[in-house]
Amino acid sequence: MSERATSVFAFLDELIVALPVPSNHRELLQVHFRQTDSWQRPETAAVQLPLLVHEAITGDEKPALPVAAACTLLYLGADLFDSLLDQELLPSWHARGAAEANLAAATLLAALPQLSIARLQEKGTPPAKLWALARLFADTLLTMSAGQYEDLLSPNLENVSLEDSRAMVERKSGSAGALLARAGAVLASEEPFTIEAYAAFGSCFGIARQLVNDVWGIWGEDTSQDLLNGKRTLPIVHALSTLRGEQRERLQKLLAAARESAEHHDEIRAFLAATGSVRYTALIVWLYQQQARNHLAAASPQEPSGRELRMLLDQASLLPQPKQAQPSG
């Protein structure tokens, strides 16, 4: 797993070093991924999926390295924007400030993925395929932006339904997951059925992962950044949909107060636990995980990449993992 991440990040380093920009600008673009600890690197998705899907179709992952790098850049840019919005900038940005982080995020997201894809020309990838990949990144970015906008608006909305919450996750994270898998498949194949099967796998995988992250966002630390930011993630929307009368009003008041301090975060967690919101989210995650499994089976991946993809999918779960993870399916 780490070898793939190392290879992609080495490619990114080389891509940025070759950019025709002043050295201090290069350093700015390297801040976000150089300071990220290895365990925080997007090893399980942006790095892995494009490479594994390409290998699952052709038997070789190496030609997809620029595509995996482009996906990783998109992830890093979106992650940096998320950190800015949620006021969670990592310490290495503190000396530089939000304006520089904004500039780096925009460049990582919009310019560098295209330059990474352009490297495919060196290996003779036809212009039509390069254009298809560039268009795919633009379409996905647009959908992710729409989902992010809904996410921004949601804390101030009176009523967010479970469907609103699900649709937001699908736009924000399902589209990103679909891109990661589809990009590898587009490079590897001309077959629409295969490409769509992998894209559907990626979408369901992305949704399942995001829902797991949403639970982590509430229970991961004593002070929940998601509660401070007033996020209306699925567990919260479920609790609000389940409670009635005074209890619902109480939770709404607590959610409003939780934006000011962490004092009420434990009480909110108790409310969510009493309504079974984590168990409900676990069920939805499982359903998406099973859908992803079906789409992957339909794509008929070559082994051992298929096994690795199933292992990645096994991790997108709220249920206990087997002690010794065995490939499933």
Partner: protein, 97 residues
């Protein structure tokens, strides 16, 4: 274990999101809720669903959150170990050039 058909999974997801009665029923009484909604899953499909349901219903929200927390911690420790063991990749020159 046999996969559950995609259409059934999609239908169950839609009901779990949109239908309040289904949402409540499926957590407390899986079999009769599925019957009431006219689901006709095969034996192996039903067994797969029951297996997941048993795991979910058999844990509290706190247990699930604790399990997730422990798993994240394990991933972190493992990745830090790998980070120390693996040398920086010279993969690019080998793989790409």
């Amino acid at each position: 274990m046999e996969e559950i058909r995609l259409e059934a999974l999609k239908g169950l997801t839609i009901l779990a999101i949109h239908d309040d009665q289904f949402r409540r029923g499926v957590m407390t009484d899986l079999d009769s809720t599925l019957r009431r909604y006219g689901y006709d899953l095969t034996g192996p499909e039903m067994e797969r669903l029951r297996d997941a349901h048993r795991q979910i219903a058999g844990m509290s929200d706190e247990d699930l959150a604790r399990e997730l927390s422990e798993r994240q911690q394990r991933v972190r420790v493992l990745s830090e170990e790998e980070g120390r063991i693996l040398a920086p990749g010279e993969y690019v020159s080998a793989a790409w050039h």
